[in-house]
């Protein structure tokens, strides 16, 4: 295949040169590899490979200045800006916000050789206000004033900074460009005999235009462009720049403009493929590749580089040769998490306004991070600390506590992570040490990652010792993130054969027979108007600075150039609209269509083949029956039965597989704990009265003791938890109110003259029952919170901290208990009634009631079982007959549990599964 580079080299080798003094300047590094390859292919005889450099490198060389990288530049800029201000220094954080935008503007201004003084003078000039329609009597608004004075600030700082950088012989790219134009003449003089070849350029900035022309006219340089008549001979934006050079440069009055060819509108197949979202898009590319016979000379272009990891997992097996020009973002590597967590540890400390203590979640996250685990997981210290964190229910854990748990040898290694105390140098240092201490535990690309982090923290250390502007961990993180954003890991593959996976910019000057481009969407290709700049659009136009229009034209050229020599072009775009309005197909696709290119359109839709969710089922085996028998012997508890009627599968999990609830840090007192505490306190209060009558006076004493009793109980059930702060404080107050309200209502009863006698508290009862057809012992057991006698009526009372409604205890047909969760509470209190009657061999001579006292709706008082039908008057009497009827249902339930024909089956209607 004839490519632009092969044509260019063909021309160059015609000269029979040795190329020792030839310098090829290219728009991208990638193109250099292909250019060298062409030389290898086409050279005959021994030659030097010409020196191949990028335009940036070339400019650096001409300017004799060193290019400063962006982070260092920012620090330098800060230094210069703050050098003679006193007092009102802005922090590096806020500074870097606007400064990076300002630097971009400076860069543009310089690259385009704009008279900066002129421009900035205009920008801060009061005359601008006139354009804004401010009538004479009106003063300019505060915002305008601020705007102008900010412009003045830019003006001053630009001049200061420029002078400073020149004195240091370094600068940002634009500065290098401007300086290079000043030095180009002497460069030409010094480099007699040098042959410069510019290959494959398109959009040049003013400085480049100047340098190119100077070099071309001096005879030192030649240039090869890659143009197609389609956009050269029309007003298409793709040709904006090349047309201009061809027409305006005096050099081209006499010299030929090479090359302008006609490929675009020649035979090629173009496929436009619409896909919903990225995965569909890239997976479709996978199947396109699968269908390709040869993958040689094929480029897969990711206009959105963040799709790399997806793409890497979507190539068919047949791709055996692959080259990837894009790097894998270091920020995507899992190791980032480790440092992120250390940052979080301190940033959240700050957020919660704490010192010397850490948020338990951050600590937990660090301790469960895979890297941490790998590094320290084996040490007993680590395990001990982790256990401590999980079991201690503390929201904030102090450094001292951590240290106390780290005593072993290994501890040294990571104890320092907790000793940073918001100090920036220490933070950096700890990270470096952590990395150094562990470098031998990694290998392969993980070691490479670690090494990159090592570099990164060394860089931070240097920056910080050099400038000392990083005052807080937050600032540090900002700088860290800026550094990490540009870090990429590169791939090793087949550089020149096989499938080429690349970003849009790397395609410059390259040609492929088959081109597949992903994300041909507005906002990506072209990237659209997202530029941040302080120079208004109109002013840019006036001064000849590029705007988004030029940027769009550049994309346009890249796009059309890329497909011009290709035979097969697959253009995929994402149709999914997100919140920000993506999902619009690129104008380039519309252009192709309007221009009458033959396009085959396809829409990808992935079938909605959701596998029906199947019910979980477990069939009973003899092994399970045996286990159930053992359970029966020790007794079915009310919660076991409730669990079974609500969802047999839940019962199976809980009682046969013994799957328990997860043990986690109770950041705030859990619901269960609240319940337990209130139960305990009430037991403590009432236990001494078993068999006795309680008086209002007694209750008063209880009221008095309630706070201390609660505190004691909380200490016991909620280890070391802090009751003074946060939600816990709230919950503690709630518990207080619950107990106090309960006691108050008891007191009210007693004041009315009622007689209250306590019969039992937290009474455990177990009873054996016979079930027809089951010839083994079966027990039921339960623990009744309180049994008392109120004016002669025996009451079985269950305390609940959750909400209970009267309807949950209203049941006339007990078989409803088996229908699910709704009557769980009735099931429970009835079972208590049964157990009580068994224990006392009660013949139900007196009145018996069974029910619940709910703290959450304490105004309702004691809620009793109600057996009446429909709207009839409440009937709360628990009678022998009712208990018997109820027990029939319980027995039926137990029979079912043992029925081998009925499997444990998930109840999908149960809301809690």
């Amino acid at each position: 295949m004839k490519t632009f580079l092969s044509e260019t080299v063909k021309e160059l080798v015609l000269s029979k040169e040795k190329f020792r003094d030839t310098l090829c300047v290219l728009p991208s590094e990638r193109a250099g590899v292909f250019l060298a390859q062409e030389f290898k292919k086409q050279s005959n005889g021994t030659i030097f490979l010409p020196e191949i450099i990028s335009i940036e490198g070339f400019v650096e060389r001409v300017s004799e200045f060193r290019k400063e990288d962006s982070v260092n530049l920012l620090f330098e800029f800060y230094k210069v800006c703050t050098s003679n201000h006193q007092g009102t220094e802005e922090t590096f954080d806020t500074f870097s916000q606007w400064a990076s935008v300002a630097l971009q503007d400076f860069n543009e201004v310089d690259r385009h050789l704009i008279n900066a003084i002129d421009l900035f003078t205009y920008l801060r000039d009061i005359k601008r206000i006139e354009k804004w329609n401010v009538s004479d009597d009106n003063k300019p608004s505060e915002m305008m004033e601020n705007h102008l004075s900010f412009m003045e600030k830019l003006h001053v700082n630009y001049q200061k900074f420029y002078a400073y950088l020149v004195s240091q012989k370094k600068g940002y790219q634009g500065l290098l460009y401007r300086e290079a134009t000043k030095k180009i003449e002497s460069y030409i003089q010094k480099n007699d005999g040098l042959k410069i070849v510019f290959i494959g350029f398109n959009a040049l900035n003013k400085a480049e235009e100047y340098i190119f022309q100077e070099l071309l006219t001096s005879g030192l340089a030649t240039a090869y462009w890659d143009a197609d008549t389609y956009y050269m001979n029309s007003s298409k934006s793709a040709g904006t720049f090349l047309r201009k050079y061809k027409e305006n440069w005096t050099y081209y009055e006499k010299n030929q403009f090479k090359f302008i060819e006609t490929h675009l509108q020649k035979d090629k197949k173009i496929y436009e493929i619409a896909a919903t979202k990225n995965v569909a898009q890239i997976k479709t590319i996978g199947s396109i590749l699968e269908k390709q016979e040869i993958l040689e000379n094929t480029a897969l272009v990711l206009a959105e580089e963040s799709l790399l990891s997806l793409t890497l997992n979507s190539l068919p097996k047949k791709v055996d040769n692959l080259n990837i020009t894009m790097g894998y973002a270091l920020a995507d590597m899992p190791m980032v998490g480790l440092f992120q967590l250390i940052f979080d540890l301190y940033l959240n400390q700050e957020k919660f306004g704490k010192k010397e203590v850490f948020y338990h979640k951050d600590l937990e996250r660090i301790l469960s991070h895979p890297f941490f685990y790998r590094l320290f997981g084996e040490s007993t210290d680590f395990q001990q600390l982790k256990k401590f964190v999980i079991q201690n229910n503390q929201v904030f854990i102090s450094v001292a506590q951590i240290k106390k748990n780290l005593t072993g040898e290994q501890a040294e290694k990571f104890i320092q992570i907790f000793e940073i105390a918001q100090e920036v140098p220490k933070f950096i240092n700890v990270c470096i040490q952590l990395i150094e201490a562990n470098k031998e535990n990694f290998n392969g690309f993980e070691k490479e990652c670690l090494y990159r982090f090592y570099n990164l923290f060394l860089q931070l250390e240097n920056l910080n010792s050099e400038y000392q502007f990083i005052k807080t961990i937050k600032t540090l993180k900002g700088v860290y993130q800026q550094l990490i954003a540009t870090e990429k890991l590169s791939f090793q593959g087949e550089p020149l054969t096989g499938l080429q996976l690349m970003g849009m910019l790397e395609t410059r000057a390259l040609d492929f027979e088959t081109v597949i481009v992903a994300s041909v969407n507005e906002g990506v290709l072209p990237a659209g108007k997202s530029e941040n700049s302080f120079i208004p659009f109109d002013v840019k136009i006036e001064y000849g600075l590029p705007t988004y229009r030029e940027k769009d034209a550049i994309f346009s050229y890249h796009f059309f150039r890329l497909i011009q020599r290709a035979k097969n072009v697959y253009l995929l775009y994402n149709t999914d609209t997100d919140d920000y309005g993506a999902g619009e197909k690129s104008r380039f696709l519309t252009q192709l269509e309007v221009e009458g290119f033959p396009i085959q359109k396809t829409k990808i839709s992935i079938p909605v083949t959701s596998s029906e969710k199947q019910k979980q089922v477990v069939h009973k085996t003899p092994e399970m029956i045996a286990a159930l028998k053992a359970i029966a012997e020790s007794g079915f508890s009310p919660s076991a039965l409730s669990s079974y009627v609500s969802n047999p599968m839940a019962y199976y999990k809980r009682y046969l597989l013994k799957i328990k609830e997860l043990e986690e840090v109770e950041e705030t007192i859990a619901f269960n704990t609240l319940g337990t505490v209130i139960h305990e306190v009430l037991e403590e209060f009432y236990k001494p009265f078993v068999g006795k009558y309680v008086t209002a006076e007694h209750i008063n004493v209880m009221q008095k003791n309630s706070v201390s009793a609660l505190q004691r109980s909380f200490q016991k059930n909620y280890q070391n938890g802090n009751l003074e702060k946060g939600k816990n404080k709230l919950i503690f107050e709630v518990a207080k109110a619950y107990v106090s309200n309960f006691l108050a209502s008891e007191r009210e009863l007693l004041m009315e003259g009622k007689q209250l006698k306590i019969i039992g508290t937290e009474t455990k009862i177990k009873a054996t029952i016979q079930i027809d057809g089951l010839d083994f012992p079966i027990c039921l057991r339960g623990e009744v919170d309180r049994i008392d006698e109120l004016d002669g009526t025996t009451r079985i009372v269950d305390y609940k901290s959750g909400k209970v409604t009267a309807s949950e205890l209203k049941i006339s047909d007990f078989s409803k208990i088996r229908e699910g969760r709704k009557y769980n509470k009735a099931l429970q209190v009835m079972l208590y009634a049964f157990l009580y009657s068994q224990k006392n061999k009660t013949i139900f001579d007196g009145e018996l009631e069974s029910g619940i006292f709910s703290f959450k709706n304490s105004n309702e008082g004691f809620l009793k079982m109600n057996f009446s039908e429909g709207r009839a008057k409440a009937d709360n009497r628990v009678t022998a007959q009712r208990v018997a009827e109820y027990m029939e249902v319980v027995k039926e339930t137990i029979r079912e549990i043992f029925d081998t024909q009925i499997p444990f089956e998930e109840n999908v209607d149960d809301p809690y599964t």
């Binding site: 020792r20 290898k40 005889g45 021994t46 916000q97 935008v101 804004w132 329609n133 305008m144 934006s237 979202k277 990225n278 569909a280 997976k283 199947s287 963040s306 990891s309 997806l310 040769n321 990837i324 894998y328 995507d332 998490g337 992120q340 031998e440 070691k447 490479e448 570099n455 990164l456 923290f457 240097n462 593959g493 302080f534 208004p536 229009r549 609209t577 919140d579 309005g581 619009e584 519309t590 309007v594 396809t602 909605v608 083949t609 969710k613 477990v618 069939h619 092994e623 999990k653 597989l657 799957i659 997860l662 043990e663 003074e724 702060k725 946060g726 709230l730 109110a737 309200n741 909400k803």
Partner: protein, 1058 residues
């Protein structure tokens, strides 16, 4: 004022071809001039991204068509209205199309949100916002984080602690949940709503303490009032008790009861004090006892009649004077405390936003209104880099107050220019977004003719046009809706709303005649709530089943008010074998494979999470069709912990390495996981959508399992796949979602109480200064009882009530106007014992409408079905036409990149580690630096550069430099590093075979060359061969090789020369 400018308002009822007209006007604007760049001066604002995309597409497609010389309805109209001939139209279209495509960024058809976002971005610095802020759409998520932080601070700030705890305890006393987070979250949402925010600003100056003081004061006032009422009651009782008559001797015992009620005043429900009308009437008439009482009793009572009457009117007087205050205080108190801490929540929110560089989408309009709007338009235009002359605004009725206020200055400026224009298009009947800030009253005012500021904020005359033809529905449906909604206007009290429905429902029919409307009433008096829902669903099923075979199910859309309502209908339809598409069925979280991945990730993250482990096993049991019995399977795997578990998976054919899983970037690891478990065997939209979600997560966040699982929890409720259109499934959709869409058949099961609203609140912004401590406004519950606070309250309630009625009737309007061919309305047979309907409900409105009809569809009691027109006959093969559209499915290809012969380069770290390796590294480094040094002077700069880049530790700089110096200053080598010579470093030589050879350093002097190559270690003669090869090549090229030097870089520099 400019004569050439125009301001037009289009009133566009449902189906009136609104988009067509909008596109037409847009095209007119660009085609009327010869300037090809006219389009850059137009800003068209739509409500959704989708609408913007559609409008863009329609404009481009039309221009393309015209430029190719084709005609359509549009071109005919355009030629006529612009009086252009076909050829000119064609030419202009061509140049404009080209101009748009080549300057696409200036093709401004966008949403109001995008536009405001753009303004904010451009003013970010001026507003003190972070320049690179990210927009957060989901403000509620941040708010709940802010609330959590606030709660975590209980115990730190005394004032705050007290207020929150008192609030919680107060809730307990009312038997409500003590969990204040819910209440705080609810009120925090006010911060996101522009109308509420404006009110909140009026409370800016109030501190927590002020709120507390007010609370105490109001409570005290309440107690005072209550106790005075009790006292009065007491007084009354005393009078009566002193008599020797029974309470019943008064008429029905009313008066004594009344006094007793007063005694327990604080327990009497609001508004129930005078609930006994009989008493009121009797007291007015001075009747204390019934005529049948004995004389003695009459005498007895007469004796105290006067003091009783006086007391009664004293009570009445006191009631009139103080009761409104009592009620209002009560209302204010109810919402006061959550309001009090709002500012604290806002502070926490601000901190969160600052920390994460976030701006909330919802605050943009606020910011513009406060800080930017009043700047002169040219200044704003300059800053945003665009200047518009023509504005098109679609869906004007859903535009919020601030959105419109913010646009007015820009538009004013545009209209003051030559040929400025504004076109507003909307339909107040389709305003259903009040809860999102949409203010339909604004549009109602704008389409009214009278001249007032809010009718026309501009100096340009306004033209109002009604788009009066319905192009959507068949004639029966148009007719039904016209008549029904005209009838419905009587249910409004607000005259503007009434008028809206009066003028808006004279739609003309289009050419499609026929169509079908069916009204069904479901008798369901006896049923409980769940059963009622089910009865509706059953009827939907019956309607679907009643459709002819040939009718594709995808023609049918069932409209519901809320997602929840849709669930029952989905269940019933699916249980009966009808496939459906609803937001629920499209939810990714319901897919078993996705659930499996989540569970497995949870287990990997926390190996103690046995429940998650069980769920993954339960999926695998089915997915892999395990033959072993379930119990044994579960037990075996549950027993295996950690690595052993993953290893044991191979016994069921799954090869999953958890260690390597954790080393990969997150997205890759998830895909690897899914691959290992065979989840890609068939393509599945849920699975790919889930992967998209994972990818998106990795792109935006630092990705790890824990963070992912948290993120998933917050997003899973809303993550759904896009419905595939071509599907034989009935759609179930909320009315809100259906807006702007149409369906051949619409089924609408509904019965709604038109004035009902969930937990309505309103700002009472005329609080009495003295009593309310100069609080200007407060949030109160909006119920009819608000009228008890006085005329103002009554007016407020009425206004709000009417708004709610409008919103609900609008919903009904939107629902009924979606149908093209057939419309089925299913509603409640709700009539009282007397056979009267209740027109406060949709059902009653329908019945009331049917009553007005004569003939066969006239209402008759007991009849449950009413039918208009005839069902449309569907051609048999109508369906196949759709299926041929180009659609194909992809199988999911997934494989690891390591299969393709690539690896990640790890050169730089290869020699980083052991001492020995570091020595090598050091050697290589020196070697590398030497290759970068042309002349001696550059050494320091090169080393410096390495340090800056973090490649060399600062401390090591000295020693490296020293090492370099050894070479550079070596007496024998020195000359090769001096200026003036032609140096070639690390350049390749190509031999005849095209092979590359790279000598480290060539130093030329004229035609003579010296070759320098660096080595480490001891002198090895074998290295010489390589250098000799270089020499051969150079000589072949015609250079004379003067020197060949091998330089050994060690403690001491050794040189092998030959």
């Amino acid at each position: 004022m400019n004569q050439n400018s125009s301001f037009r308002v289009y009133n566009a009822s449902a189906g009136s071809g609104k988009t067509f007209s909008l596109v037409k006007e847009y095209l007119k604007k660009v085609l009327e001039t010869t300037s090809r760049f006219q389009f850059q001066k137009i800003l068209a604002i739509t409500f959704t991204n989708k609408a913007a995309a559609e409008m863009k597409d329609r404009v481009l497609q039309n221009l393309k068509l015209f430029s190719e010389g084709f005609d359509n309805d549009m071109s005919v109209l355009l030629q006529e209205e612009l009086s252009l001939d076909k050829k000119t139209l064609q030419e202009r279209s061509k140049t404009i199309l080209e101009a748009i495509l080549q300057n696409y960024a200036a093709f401004n058809i966008t949403t109001i949100d995008s536009f405001t976002h753009k303004i904010i971005r451009n003013f970010a610095y001026d507003l003190g916002l972070p320049l690179n802020f990210e927009v957060e759409m989901d403000g509620t998520r941040l708010l709940s984080e802010a609330v959590d932080i606030l709660i975590s601070k209980i115990g730190e700030n005394k004032e705050l602690t007290q207020i929150l705890i008192d609030y919680a305890i107060g809730k307990i006393e009312d038997d409500k949940s003590w969990d204040i987070a819910y209440d705080l979250n609810t009120s925090a949402k006010l911060l996101l709503n522009e109308e509420d925010f404006l009110q909140l600003q009026r409370l800016d100056g109030k501190s927590l303490k002020d709120f507390r003081t007010l609370e105490r004061k109001l409570k005290k006032k309440q107690r005072e009032i209550a106790s005075h009422f009790s006292h009065l009651g007491e007084k009354g009782s005393q009078i009566i008790d002193g008599l020797d008559v029974d309470d019943k001797d008064f008429v029905y015992g009313d008066l004594p009861k009344f006094f007793n009620k007063l005694k327990t005043f604080s327990k009497v429900e609001i508004g129930k004090l005078y609930s006994n009308q009989r008493l009121v009437k009797n007291m007015e008439a001075g009747v204390l006892y019934s005529a049948s009482k004995s004389d003695q009793i009459k005498q007895c009572i007469d004796a105290v009649s006067e003091p009783l009457q006086t007391l009664y009117s004293e009570i009445e007087y006191y009631y009139n004077k103080e009761y409104p205050r009592y009620v209002l205080s009560q209302f204010v108190l109810k919402n006061l405390i959550p309001l009090a801490v709002l500012k604290n929540i806002q502070e926490e929110l601000q901190t969160i936003k600052n920390q994460n560089n976030i701006c909330l989408n919802s605050e943009f309009n606020q910011l513009i209104s406060e800080k930017i709007k009043d700047e002169p338009a040219p200044f704003i235009y300059e800053r945003i880099g665009e200047k518009f002359q023509n504005y098109f605004i679609d869906e004007m009725q859903d535009t919020s107050g601030l959105q419109w206020q913010n646009l007015i200055p820009l538009i004013k400026n545009a209209l003051s220019q030559e040929k400025g224009s504004l076109l507003l298009v909307g339909d107040a009947k389709q305003a259903i977004y009040r809860w999102r800030g949409g203010k339909s009253e604004q549009f109602i005012a704008l389409y009214q003719q009278e001249k007032r500021e809010h009718n026309n904020p501009f100096l340009v005359e306004k033209n109002i046009e009604n788009l009066d033809t319905n192009y959507r529905s068949y004639s029966e449906i148009v007719q039904f809706n016209n008549l029904f909604f005209t009838h419905a206007c009587q249910f409004f009290e607000n005259p503007e709303y009434k008028e809206l429905y009066q003028i808006g429902n004279h739609q003309k029919e289009n050419s499609r005649k026929g169509g079908y409307v069916q009204l069904n009433f479901i008798p369901k008096k006896e049923l409980d709530a769940d059963e009622k829902k089910r009865a509706f669903a059953e009827h939907v099923l019956a309607s679907v089943k009643g459709l002819p075979e040939a009718r594709p199910k995808s023609d049918v859309c069932v409209l519901v008010r809320s997602k929840k309502e849709g669930v029952v209908i989905s269940d019933v339809l699916t249980q009966n074998g009808i496939s459906i598409i609803s937001s629920e069925t499209l939810l990714v979280q319901n897919d078993p494979k996705v659930q499996f991945v989540i569970q497995l990730l949870s287990y990997i993250q926390n190996p103690l999470d046995t429940n998650a482990k069980f769920l993954t096993l339960s999926f695998l049991y089915q997915h892999l069709k395990i033959l072993d019995d379930e119990h044994r399977f579960y037990q075996t795997f549950l027993e295996k912990k950690g690595e052993a578990f993953y290893r044991h998976l191979s016994s069921i054919g799954v090869h999953f390495n958890c260690q390597s899983f954790l080393k990969m970037p997150f997205y890759e690891s998830v895909e690897e996981l899914m691959r290992s478990f065979g989840l890609f065997e068939e393509s599945n939209a849920f699975v790919t959508c889930f992967l998209d979600f994972v990818l998106e997560f990795q792109r935006n966040k630092v990705a790890n399992i824990a963070a992912f699982l948290d993120y998933w929890e917050t997003k899973k409720e809303n993550l759904s796949i896009t419905a595939v259109e071509n599907d034989n499934a009935v759609r179930i959709m909320t009315i809100h979602k259906s807006k702007g869409l149409e369906f051949p058949i619409v089924i609408f099961p509904c019965d709604v109480q038109v004035s009902k609203e969930q937990n309505p609140t309103i700002w009472y912004d005329a609080l009495e200064e003295d009593l309310f401590d100069r609080f200007e406004t407060s949030l109160v519950t909006c119920s009819e009882k608000l009228s008890l606070t006085g005329d103002l309250g009554a007016a407020m309630y009425k206004k709000r009530n009417q708004e709610v009625v409008l919103d609900n009737i609008n919903l009904l309007y939107v629902a009924l106007t979606r149908a093209v061919e057939e419309l089925y309305v299913i509603t409640d047979y709700k009539i009282d014992a007397k056979g009267n309907e209740n027109t406060a409900w949709f059902s009653g409105m329908f019945i009331s409408y049917l009553r007005t009809l004569s003939g066969e569809n006239s209402w008759s009691e007991g009849r449950l079905e009413y039918v208009f027109g005839e069902k449309i006959v569907v051609a048999k093969d109508q369906k196949t036409e759709l299926a041929t559209s180009l659609e194909k499915s992809v199988g999911i290809i997934s494989s690891s990149w390591e299969n393709h012969g690539i690896s990640i380069v790890s050169n730089s770290s290869k020699n980083w580690g052991t001492k020995k390796e570091e020595a090598i590294e050091y050697g290589l480094l020196v070697h590398e630096m030497l290759s970068k040094i042309q002349y001696k002077e550059e050494a320091t700069a090169v080393v410096q550069q390495y340090i800056l880049q973090g490649l060399v530790k600062k401390e090591a700089g000295e020693s490296i430099l020293h090492q370099l110096e050894k070479v550079l200053s070596h007496p024998e080598l020195k000359p090769y590093f001096q200026k003036g010579k032609k140096i070639v470093c690390e350049r390749a030589l190509l031999n005849e075979e095209g092979q590359k050879l790279i000598p480290d350093r060539l130093v030329f002097e004229g035609n003579q060359v010296a070759i320098l190559d660096y080595k480490t270690g001891k002198i090895e003669k074998s290295y010489r061969a390589q250098v000799t090869m270089y020499a051969d090549l150079l000589e072949k090229m015609g250079y004379e090789v003067k020197k060949k030097l091998l330089i050994y870089l060690g403690e001491k520099i050794e040189i092998d020369r030959f």
